[in-house]
Amino acid sequence: MHIIESGNVAAATGVRLSRAQVIAAYPITPQTPLTEKLSEFVESGQLDAEYIPVESEHSAMAVCIAASTAGTRAFTATSANGLLYMVEQLHWAVGARLPIVMCVANRGIGAPWTVWNDQQDTISQRDVGWIQIYANDHQQIIDSVIKAFRLAQTVSIPVMVCYDGYLLSHTYMPFDQPEQSQVDSFLPAFAPEHFLDPENPGNFNTVTLPDVRPDGVGVIAPGYIEIRHNLQEDLRAALDTFVEIDKDFEKEFGRGGNPLIEEYRCDGADFVAVCIGSLSYQLRDVIDIMRDKDVKIGVMGVQMYRPFPDKAIVAALKSKKCVIVFEKALSYGNQGALYADIKAALYSSDKKPLVHNYILGLGGREIRTQQLLDALTESCTSPDTFEDTPRWLGLKL
């Protein structure tokens, strides 16, 4: 059924259809309407879940950790400083391998205070070990939430579904709301082999020693470094798992493609603009204008940022002349994080395209199509003149 709703409601609907069992969240702009909608669903009986209002984001994630350890499907959502407040628990959730799903409506981080969109909040959490999926429109938000629950419980790794604050969270768009029966057949109930069970007691996430050691009953337990190594391996394997899950999704819902990267007019292109999030759809307008002027250019949106789909990205970009990376975040003191990742991925390929970096839209600064057009035109006309450092778009110094 097609409905017209906001991105936050798309996310909440995805959570309802996925039959989340425990929801703990603290409202923060621009995520607030999502939690409001979910509490409505629970209050009206449309969603059979425990809604736990908490006093902070740290507690929200702590509740999700407890709920997930007890074997229930847990969900939370946040933005910006709220995400940062739960960082200690983010690390715990992934180290404990709990399939929690969290939506993040991307917002800039204070100080100075801002409630508007950029992606510094989630990009700064790229090394935590959570899977990060970025949605570009409302259909992708609802679909990604449903896929995220399946992916999380398949690989035992928590998943963040990120979407641009305001630009997606508060705008209204038509999207297909799947039938409950379809979602039920795609997403099996969460039935973990091991969970917190009084009938079968166990110690979870106990202290590890630097080396492996026998536990109280003589079983050799892995040490810290083994557990961390296994997380890294399972994260890398999750790339293929997500592609397989996406195929199942396409069979059930008729929507699919490449869930790792989304290419637009990249066939035969010499130049490719690359970015994360809704900007990739805005860039399509610019690419269309430039294609009309016979510039061979396309755009690629990175939808899964962690684990990093380096092989898919290298395959898409290696034969290009120049890759232009637009970012709404920075690895401060260095460069754009995606820019650095893409250069690292391309380093081992025979043909190395030039790579440019633009920083833009921080704190909700409006991104104008003309600005993008000017930037891309300069990158395409004089690609050799760029230094290995980001250029800032729309600065008023």
């Binding site: 180290g95 404990a96 391998r97 398949t154 690989v155 035992s156 082999e193 091991h194 007691p201 166990g202 110690n203 979870f204 996430n205 106990t206 202290v207 590890t208 020693l209 050691r213 536990d215 109280g216 009953v217 079983v219 337990a221 892995p222 810290y224 083994e226 557990i227 296994n230 997380l231 391996e233 399972d234 394997a237 999750a238 798992t241 397989e244």
Partner: protein, 101 residues
């Protein structure tokens, strides 16, 4: 799809003595029970057992008399603090002969 065993994904163990290693070696002060003052020992009845109840490491047995497992007792002194009969004394470990197996 991942097939890794659960026990290799997280640090997990079955509860039991010695789950955290041979923690008795951490001990500086040793709790010693004076059986002449210990309530269950003195009355020969299953009674009191505050030491068993309060021990955070579950190394005191609920028996007559209560027995402390020194392989895992860290010497925290909670049993001595909680004993209503004052029957448990914390003794400097260096005054005891080292028990090597």
């Amino acid at each position: 799809m991942t097939t890794r065993k659960f026990c290799d994904k997280i640090s997990r163990s079955t509860p039991g003595p010695g789950d955290g290693g041979n923690t008795g070696s951490w001990r500086v002060l040793r709790p010693v029970i004076d059986l002449a003052a210990c309530i269950p020992a003195k009355k020969n009845k299953k009674a009191c057992f505050h030491c068993w109840l309060y021990c955070p490491d579950s190394v005191v047995s609920k028996t007559i008399p209560p027995v402390i497992n020194y392989d895992y007792c860290k010497g925290c002194g909670i049993c001595a603090e909680e004993c209503p009969a004052g029957a448990i004394t914390m003794v400097d470990e260096s005054t005891h002969p080292v028990e090597e197996k």
